[in-house]
């Protein structure tokens, strides 16, 4: 005899606790609400925070999309989809438009999100001041006092050393003019998508036991100096080698045979979608 798994894996008591923390997180945008992170059938650091949020949110009418670094098909995304599918039976999709719940590791999809969707981001290091201050008791006080010199100092040192900020991902943002927040390791390219987003964005850190949130239509400013304005990754003059897309986040590839550098879309479902539509167009307008 095999017992039926609990719907969405977590017991109802755990969900309740996560839900209470999430509501507080939404009410205090950018503040990291502590929660009793549960053991998940997955190693901490692989998206257990995001997964617990997803489990607390998901219902029978949801359609789930999971992205791992832009891809729907890589290991982390597939194993999370398998767990949710096995414990809820809800459909999964790769198309951003079809999803009601999107759990993502380190990307915000290229297709603009809508108010019917909720974006869940997996966070490895929720504390933007951690590099500057090791003690949680101290960083909590710094947040309380809105004392963010540490975050500014980090950026300042990068500019002094390299002439520009070198945050490859996870460039700190100021939420609603109050809290400095780690937006999770999304590329700088995605930071502006958080500003006045239509969709609710929830962030979960399982290992660090924190939940925080960005409500829709909330001011999100990437930290920058007047003489060193914030810049996303620049892909001007470059396009995807498959679908030809421009103005999207591109992966850089070195092709050994030709010795050339090529670019391709990082958001795989967006790329596949574009290719499909190009195929359709070709067939419709075919002349023999």
């Amino acid at each position: 005899m095999r017992a039926e798994p609990q719907f969405a894996f977590l017991d109802e008591g755990s969900k309740k606790e996560i839900r209470r923390a999430t509501l507080k997180a939404v009410a205090i945008p950018g503040y990291q609400v502590p929660f009793a992170s549960r053991e998940m059938p997955m190693a901490r650091g692989w998206g257990t925070g995001g997964l617990q949020l997803t489990c607390s949110l998901v219902g029978k009418d949801d359609v789930l999309k999971v992205i791992d670094q832009g891809a729907d098909e890589s290991v982390n995304a597939v194993s999370i989809k398998k767990l949710i599918r096995a414990t809820t039976g809800i459909p999964v999709t790769e198309r951003t438009e079809e999803a009601t719940l999107i759990q993502s590791r380190h990307r915000i999809p290229e297709v603009p999100l809508t108010k019917e969707q909720i974006l869940v981001l997996q966070v490895p290091t929720p504390e933007p001041l951690r590099q500057y201050e090791k003690k949680e008791s101290v960083t909590k006080r710094l947040h309380a006092e809105s004392e963010y010199s540490g975050a500014w100092l980090m950026l300042f040192e990068q500019i002094m050393k390299y002439g520009r900020t070198t945050t490859g991902a996870d460039h700190p943002v100021l939420v609603n003019g109050r809290y400095v927040m780690a937006p999770s390791p999304i590329p700088r390219f995605d930071n502006p998508k958080m500003d006045h987003s239509e969709a609710l964005i929830l962030l979960g850190a399982g290992r660090e036991k924190k939940i925080y949130a960005v409500p829709p239509y909330t001011d999100i400013r990437s930290l920058a100096f007047e003489d060193h304005p914030f810049e996303g990754e620049d892909f001007s003059g470059k396009s995807c080698r498959f679908c030809g897309a421009t103005g999207v986040f591109l992966d850089e590839l070195h092709v050994e045979e030709t010795g050339m550098t090529e670019y391709q879309c990082n958001d795989t479902s967006h790329c596949a979608d574009r290719l499909e539509r190009q195929d359709e167009k070709e067939v419709q307008h075919a002349t023999i």
């Binding site: 719907f7 109802e12 008591g13 969900k15 309740k16 606790e17 839900r19 209470r20 923390a21 999430t22 509501l23 507080k24 997180a25 939404v26 009410a27 205090i28 945008p29 503040y31 609400v33 502590p34 607390s56 949110l57 998901v58 219902g59 029978k60 108010k115 909590k140 006080r141 947040h143 309380a144 006092e145 609603n176 109050r178 809290y179 006045h196 609710l200 949130a213 409500p215 829709p216 239509y217 909330t218 001011d219």
Partner: protein, 202 residues
């Protein structure tokens, strides 16, 4: 039909979450509320929200002169413990609560600290029908430009609430419920405008 403690509660939570994320939005939980066991002294939506959020790990307080029965029922259903208004994590103000009693409790309740702003009271306030013209505007995170306040709020209420939230991030968050399954939220980040057309009194 009986309330499904997994799926119905999940639905209520999602509505509640969207309301908290979009102040002024009014959610309709009528269908779910019809399944819930009733407490004669409070709205079905109030009891639903309590069942969604309360358990043995949190405390609650019920205001009003008919508090005893509500208190007993909620404790029976959720195992949450009753606590004085100054200490409670959740404060329930049934429709019969008088304004002076409500405002007194609001002045006394937990608002959290600058370090731990989440350690604050969440209010569940029963009201008349949500969505009637209320004459006040809301703005802040979660609101595109402006939203209508879901319910008419007295000047005394707004000023007590504003005093409680002025030390942001410390503050209190409010959930309103009506007799028809309606739910709406005003979190601490929301600015409530003065009544439209009311003369400015020095």
């Amino acid at each position: 039909m009986q309330l499904d403690s997994v799926h119905d509660i999940q639905k209520v939570y999602r509505e509640l979450l969207q309301c908290m994320a979009r102040p002024g939005k009014i959610a309709d939980t009528r269908e779910t509320a019809a399944k819930a066991d009733l407490i004669r002294e409070c709205h079905p939506a109030t009891f639903l929200v309590a069942q969604t959020l309360l358990d043995a790990e949190v405390t609650f307080h019920v205001l009003g002169d008919r508090a005893e029965n509500i208190r007993r029922k909620i404790a029976d259903y959720t195992f949450a413990a009753h606590a004085p208004a100054e200490e409670a994590d959740y404060i329930i103000a049934p429709l019969c609560t008088s304004e002076p009693e409500l405002l007194e409790a609001m002045q006394a309740c937990k608002a959290g600290t600058l370090e731990n702003p989440h350690d604050s009271a969440l209010w569940i306030i029963e009201s008349g029908a949500l969505g009637e013209p209320a004459g006040r505007k809301l703005s802040g995170p979660g609101i595109k430009d402006e939203a209508d306040a879901p319910i008419a709020l007295s000047d005394a209420f707004v000023s007590t609430r504003n005093r409680k939230t002025q030390e942001f991030p410390a503050g209190i968050d409010l959930i309103f419920t009506d007799s028809d399954g309606g739910i709406s939220c005003i979190p601490r980040t929301t600015a409530i405008s003065a009544k439209e057309g009311s003369a400015w009194v020095m």
